[in-house]
Symmetry: D2
Subunit: 345 residues, 4 copies
């Protein structure tokens, strides 16, 4: 069965595999202190146009979030997140395990705004409450929406005014910054957030995320926190090699754009059939609301995720395209889907 | 100014102070291994009619909650609480600091039910989510409501069916179990919950809570967790002496009833003036909704807490009576209040 | 049986009890925000001659150590301690429970020196090791020795040179600073350490320690850490009242001196009998090395602690005198001891 | 420069790389729920002859140790380790960061025995001390020594008798079990320890360790702890594929034996030159004690680690061979070494 379950169902982009193979038995220093990591950092700094950034390569998203957040906060400080935020629901309490409360805010489109945050700050006034100190956002969000530049600027300004840090989870940053309608450039991020990560796992790498720290106060001794949390890979050059490939010749954003384009093709198929969607998700995750009988038929040939149940006759599913999705895969789906619609009974 | 701010504004009941004074320079073993603690445990076991319970004396409520919860849960397990629960909002993230997520549930009356909990369990299905393992309730709740016996029985049954622990925070247990309409007896608790604590700080003690553990699986080596968290007082007999007094001749519940009775007198005053209340709170906390001008006048002579702002012209205040509130204090207030109403302009 | 087991076997000094009784039903603000705490802070600041110090009252020693240490360190930082240090062996891993390694150093006299610390720093050079950031000492030490001024100055200088904090546990500070030979004054401490605590529990209080923070970088939001760890007592004024009494008219040091003097009387008794001691302990803890038969006889009439077993025929015992030990208690012991020696067979 | 610095300086064995390449764009379920992981588990269960074992694949050694130890211990429990143990010195306090004290024991050969552990247990008797609950060993140890079967059996028996868990870190298990003189078979381990891990990173994998849990009480919900600590890789099949290759046709132990054989060749070179060694290390780590001038010369052509400084004229170095070390590398070194000896002046 073909899987639209997520964007990390396939191995890595051929360039990445080739780089690893080509290295042969080359000896490298361990723990990310090698020339590949150094070179990848140079490429990323150039791409983000921020020479002073500190860049670290970590093996996965959950460990990147918990390593950074636990580093940045004092024991009594909390992080604000959308209730749908990955740290709040899909990381098995990793942030709390490091001692910090997540103040979650209900938000229909997965995005945070100063207006949504204000009541939380108003409520947390003294030492009987945790101290909100960081705002965590994802772009795209968990439900596929994206931040627009004005929104991010407002949030950034609000955080600075309220002495809070702003951290952006970019697990799918390539898709976010190449989505239809996006007006944020990679070079905007260092100016607007204190730290963000450039996700590799969901954008064609075997594994690996590049954490970019731009706030000088959050740089000192960060590798200690990484090592303590098991986030420094012994053969760290494997991460360097992958990001060298991703940031050489713009491959990273090409892969993101490709995943989005495959989603748009898929979207057209649903739209033609009159299917509606959960919100406006312009990146590589689609949330069509399907009649249950149709979802059942699709599930016999395709692996997808069930997202929610808007009513007893319909199910909201998640279709996720990836850097590896082929146009032929979409065409096959279109054919199958048409037949399902025709053979309804 | 007279304070209705809370029920721990005054020192301890005279019997307690007398017991401490009378002990003179009596030498006692440290860390709660003394005869007063032993005797207090005997008295409490008799009162709860549960010989097999393990009883521990801890200095305060926050440390009792965090010491017990951190002991009972595995690292990836979470505790379910009303969003208004003390552990969720007034303990500066103590539970999270011990590594555990609180899954908070919005509830208008501060009480949890199987129906409210069910969707949370339904959502938490695999290792990408924390594992809900404990339900935390307070009786009375943070907003002064009380559980009725059927409610507690249903919750208890539901927890057992779903392999969850039920923990009851009894910071104001004396008031809860002597409130108008209450149908829960102290001896019901060991059968319905896995652990609960009998609050002393808010019921006439200088400080101290008696944690009662009835689930055999939660007893082994508990004192290790207490010591580690600084919850074993060197001069532990001070706690034993206080609970000896509170559980000799039913003083504990007499003090709770007295606090409630003082609140009822106060309530009548507000009711006569046509003041409405936030929900039905039959214990020693009253939440009258007052016009702002009246609250301002009251605040010039009385210390109270502001609870919430239902609209721009009204404020919900909290008036809290205590074991030490005198009927004359209420009469004085009535006089002042009448004058304020008359001299409105 | 009379107990020389420790210096917290008796209740509080009469002045302290009187102050609590005299307060009657006086209403006070909770959580240490009351006038007694304020007044006690003024008295202590005067005594230490340091207006800028931040002072907090906590209920006990373990919780003071873990609350301060967990506040001061980043997650990957460690605290250096003598292997006999209280935090290393008698606090059930409280410091580790807050996430921090203790780097323990073997030291025959319980005291740390730059020379002893240097090899530890030399070994901890990069992110694969924890980062030593604090030196924890007690004065007197766990084995009754005291620091001399030059020693403390050298340690202080060394810590500053190596960017480490110096924290002094003063559980028995009154005895340390009134011990024979002591040349450190209370007013020296703010200049030499970043924080220290003035122990009340072992010096005539019911409970309570006064934490003094002099390093400006360690002051911000400290009460958040206190509240989170359950270290803020609801009826915090009880702590304020006790330290008001202890620091009014020099009572604190009088009690320490008295405990020491009782120990000296006891020491003379042992010395006359030719008993030798474990090291030089000039404060209120004596560590006589006794033949086993004699210890057994003593144990039939007196409660003491067994400290170590230097050989199969001898036992090192700990005799601890307190603020409440009476000269008549020592005289009784002398009489009993003489008889035991005479009736050896 | 050629590196003898460690055994993870080179990429992966060609078979492993080929398996990854051959998979192409094969789609797999995420998080280790794929057929490769399943198959690798079958192969390992067969190799260890223990069908009932639970096997999990984690990305590295530090995260394997901390994930397992934090899962197995209650908050107040401690783990016993040789002072040279990897968890004690080279993991930046990861175990303490999860809340647990390490009780480290000085041991000249890096190995623990019941005799060495006994005094620690004797000392830890009540709730004022942490509770020793696990013994952590490595085989080979950090200093290259290996456990013999009788030693491991004695330790296993002692742990059971004292209600402690025994956990074996097998980062270099392949080298340990193929070392000269070794008499432990892989199939002995499930009977003697509660859990162990089979290290891949140092034995020809790109990364990855296989944790084997044989104690039934330590199996439930372990994946929750993994996910929380970021130890579940999204593309988990990469781990499965690697262990499929390592445990197909005995490759794992062939690579270990090869590394050892290269070390033995190297050892002969040193022995011929009369060089002495730090202890008896029969696996792939050599600790020759070299005159400083010679070490300096070697360091100009080879990357090695400095281990310790036995005296001012000598340095103990670590030479580490790997699965990728070629006999020609050793021959080159022999040639260089001879010349250095000849051209001393």
């Amino acid at each position: 069965m073909y899987s639209f379950k997520n964007d990390y169902s396939e191995s890595a982009h051929p360039n990445i595999l080739k780089a690893i193979i080509d290295a042969g038995l080359e000896q490298n220093d361990g723990y990310g202190m090698d020339s590949h990591c150094e070179n990848a950092k140079v490429l990323i700094k150039k791409a983000i146009q921020c020479e002073s950034a500190d860049i670290h390569f970590l093996p996965g998203g959950t460990i990147t979030n918990s390593t950074f957040i636990s580093y940045a906060l004092k024991p009594y400080q909390a992080v604000i997140s959308a209730d749908t935020g990955h740290i709040n629901i899909h990381e098995t309490g990793a942030v709390e395990a490091s001692g910090h409360k997540i103040l979650d805010i209900a938000t229909p489109d997965g995005k945070l705004t100063p207006e949504l945050i204000q009541p939380v700050l108003a409520q947390h006034q003294d030492e009987h409450w945790v101290q909100p100190k960081m705002v965590y956002i994802s772009n795209p969000t968990e439900i596929g929406t994206i931040y627009y530049k004005t929104e991010l600027e407002n949030l950034s300004k609000y955080c600075k005014e309220n002495d809070m840090l702003l951290f952006l989870d970019g697990a799918r940053l390539a898709m976010g910054l190449t989505a239809k309608g996006n007006d944020i450039a990679l070079i905007d991020l260092p100016k607007l957030v204190d730290a963000f990560y450039i996700g590799g796992t969901k954008v064609g790498a075997l594994f690996g995320e590049a954490l970019v720290i731009t706030n000088d106060l959050l740089k000192k001794d960060f590798r200690f926190n990484m090592k303590q949390r098991g986030a420094i890979l012994a053969k760290g050059w494997l991460l360097g090699m992958q990001f060298e490939e991703l940031f050489k010749d713009n491959l990273y954003f090409e892969l993101g754009l490709h995943a989005n384009n495959m989603a748009y093709l898929l979207k057209t198929i649903f739209e033609k059939a009159g299917v509606s969607f959960l919100g406006d998700a312009p990146s590589n995750q689609l949330f069509p609301i399907l009649p249950n009988w149709l979802l059942e038929k699709i599930s016999q040939k395709y692996i997808i995720s069930v997202w929610s149940k808007p009513d007893s006759h319909h199910t909201c599913a998640r279709f996720c395209t990836s850097w590896a999705t082929q146009e032929t895969d979409i065409i096959s789906f279109e054919k199958d889907f048409s037949e399902m619609l025709i053979n309804k009974k």
